[in-house]
């Protein structure tokens, strides 16, 4: 898994790429939580994610919980069909704020 960090509007965008499974979810978790520590809005961009499992979903849930506690904006974007499928299985597709792309929040 790779990740890239960029700034789009108010969001710090963390773009994850590759397979977010047990091998890489600790890394994803670390990056998400570290960026939330900066108290700025965070968006996780998942269009490059080909696979995600329950450990990857757990990293996203942890980010969501921390953001809620700190009253920071937290969103997902670029959800591919396989990722959406897993979020639906976990019934989390309505729990996250989901944008089509980071840029779609600029309008």
């Amino acid at each position: 898994m790779e990740h890239e960090i960029s700034k789009v509007g108010r969001f710090t965008v963390i773009a994850l790429k590759g397979e977010v499974d047990m091998r890489h979810s600790p890394q994803a978790r670390k990056v998400i939580l570290a960026n939330l520590e900066k108290a700025l809005p965070v968006m996780v961009e998942l269009s490059g994610v080909s696979y995600i499992d329950s450990s990857g979903v757990a990293s996203l849930v942890e980010g969501l919980q921390l953001a809620k506690n700190r009253k920071i904006e937290f969103a997902l974007a670029g959800i591919s069909t396989p990722v959406m499928n897993v979020l639906k299985l976990a019934r989390l597709d309505r729990v996250f704020t989901i944008h089509p792309t980071p840029e779609s929040t600029l309008a």
Binding site: E19, D53, S54, A90
Partner: protein
């Protein structure tokens, strides 16, 4: 200061009595192999102490009601001498269960003078105490002719003899119990040997793809149930399954006879009805005590998938067709061994992708964990639940359903299955190192199996996720991320379903501990089991094969029609 509540201990007589009791008690306690030797010592010590001329110990034979002298002391050796139980003073002691003190035998009508007449000894006085265990006399101790003073036994002598007789009775009882234990042990060894020979009469296990498999679990060491099958030169298979009335050794001997008759006659007789009639005639000619055998025998042709069988009074064989329907075949003839000259009708059946189950009442009447006998319905749902497993594992799981830890098997349990498809083969068995890095491979194995089974892309991806989650659970909760561990993923496919068995070496899990969390509770973790349950049609822990700690059995049904399949 002397304590007035206790009797005075300065009496030399009492001290030596206690010493004698202690000595004899010690002899009895130390006694091991030779009871007669110990009894001889005891009677000699008693004789010396009571200052009597002769003494003997008689034991009662419960069956013959005869008394025989096991030990004696004095001028004459009467060891081995036998008396009727109602004979003489010894006899009276035993029949009355009471101590007898005869001061002058001449004045006692019970005294027969039998021994005196044979030996020339002169008996004057007798003290005789019964050897009592729980109020029942095992025999008696007799002492004759007090030598000192007036030649009469005193009340103190009789009290002492009663005390000594209690010690002797205990020693004899113990020795008998020990002998009985040795005998029990010998019988147990013989039974084990018989059980071993009996197991050797059953056919050897075959590879998963063989069409017939059987399983026999005896309730006792030996079994009255049996099954057998073997290949005929033309490629067809001859098979039988039966149950001898009754249990234990006599049932197992009749089992041995019947299975041997089958093995011998079925080689040349390929018509099950005629075969059953021949076995019946042979057994009926020699069977005793109203024993009989219920027996199904038949022929299976793997080429045509045709089964022909005849049923002598046995439980109806149960057929599960390829679509999941069930059909029973009731017996057409009486049990084997009751009347000679009976005709047995043949029944025939085309398996056409289905499986034929034969079993004994140990299965239908067996009790699973809920304590309710399995019954016909239970057997059917068990077959339905386990159908995706290879036959040997399927039978093993059926038996495991009734043989959970702590279960008591009340009847022998025997099951046989004839599968018409060679299918439920492990299509693939993959060993993986149990670490996060193996997850992509586990997913790929699952995807390949899913595609082979014809599932659509989304379902294939879901299957990969379910297997991923299952392996992850083992790494995390089974092995706690310990390195050097492995898991095995076995995949089997048949007409109805794709099954994944994940085997690990972790300590057995409690299935109730493996639960998905409530989904309205938003928190990380605990999603894996929910994913597996949502994706798979079945998820259960089944008994793992030897060498493994757990086996997670996950099944996805193949739907022949509908949107999920091959769109």
């Amino acid at each position: 200061m002397p304590n007035p509540a206790l009797p005075p201990l300065d009496d030399a007589h009492m001290v030596s009595e206690v010493a004698l009791l202690a000595k004899i008690g010690w002899d009895f306690a130390a006694e091991s192999a030779d009871l007669d030797e110990t009894l001889r010592h005891a009677i000699q010590r008693i004789l010396d102490y009571l200052d009597a001329e002769a003494g003997s110990i008689f034991l009662l034979d419960e069956e013959t009601r005869e008394l025989s002298c096991r030990a004696c002391a004095g001028p004459l050796d009467i060891t081995g001498l036998k008396l009727e139980v109602d004979h003489g003073i010894v006899g009276r002691t035993i029949t009355s269960n009471c101590l007898q003190m005869v001061r002058d035998v001449a004045k006692d009508q019970s005294f027969t003078g039998f021994v005196d007449a044979q030996t020339g000894f002169t008996t004057r006085s007798i003290l005789c105490a019964p050897l009592l265990i729980r109020g029942k006399a095992l025999g008696a101790i007799e002492v004759i002719n007090k030598k000192s003073a007036d030649g009469l036994f005193s009340p103190a002598d009789s009290q002492l003899l009663v005390a000594l007789s209690a010690l002797a009775a205990l020693a004899i009882h113990n020795a008998r119990m020990a002998a009985a234990l040795v005998e029990q042990e010998r019988m147990k060894k013989e039974l084990e040997l018989a059980g071993e020979i009996q197991r050797s009469l059953l056919p050897r296990p075959r590879s998963d793809d063989f069409p017939i498999h059987g399983l026999n679990v005896p309730a006792l060491e030996v079994s009255g149930d049996f099954y057998h099958f073997f290949e005929l030169p033309d490629g067809r298979l001859s098979f039988c399954l039966g149950d001898v009335s009754g249990k234990g050794m006599n049932a197992s001997l009749l089992m041995a006879k019947t299975i041997s008759l089958f093995h011998c006659l079925a080689k040349t007789q390929h018509e099950p009805g005629v075969l059953l009639a021949a076995i019946n005639d042979e057994v009926a000619e020699t069977a005793t005590r109203g024993m009989f055998v219920t027996l199904v025998a038949g022929i299976y042709d793997p080429q045509t998938q045709q089964v022909i069988f005849a049923n002598g009074g046995h439980q109806p064989p149960l057929f599960r067709d390829a679509r999941g329907g069930f059909q029973e075949f009731a017996a057409e003839g009486p049990p084997i061994g009751i009347f000679a000259g009976v005709d047995y009708l043949e029944q025939s059946l085309a398996l056409a992708g289905g499986s034929l189950y034969l079993f004994t009442d140990g299965l239908t009447e067996g009790k699973p964990k809920n304590g309710v006998p399995l019954g016909d319905t239970g057997v059917r749902s068990l077959i339905e639940k386990l159908r995706a497993l290879p036959a040997p594992r399927r039978l093993q799981q059926m038996a495991a359903h009734l043989q959970f830890p702590g279960a008591v098997l009340h009847d022998d349990l025997t099951i046989m299955v004839i599968d018409s498809v060679l299918a439920p083969l492990p299509m693939e068995s993959t060993d993986l190192p149990a670490c996060p890095d193996c997850l992509p491979q586990a997913r790929e194995v699952a995807r390949t199996a899913g595609r082979k089974a014809g599932f659509d892309d989304e379902t294939v991806e879901n299957l990969a996720l379910a297997v991923n989650e299952a392996v992850m659970n083992v790494i995390q909760h089974g092995y706690h991320f310990a390195s050097g561990q492995t898991v095995r993923l076995e995949i089997s496919l048949d007409d109805a379903a794709l099954a994944f068995d994940l085997l690990d070496h972790a300590p057995p899990v409690r299935p109730e501990a493996v639960q998905s969390r409530p989904l309205d509770e938003i928190r990380p973790g605990g999603l894996g089991v929910h994913f597996i349950r949502s994706i798979m049609d079945e998820m259960t822990f089944i008994a793992p094969p030897p060498g493994f700690g757990n086996c997670l059995h996950m099944v996805k049904y193949r739907k022949k029609e509908g949107s999920e399949h091959g769109t």
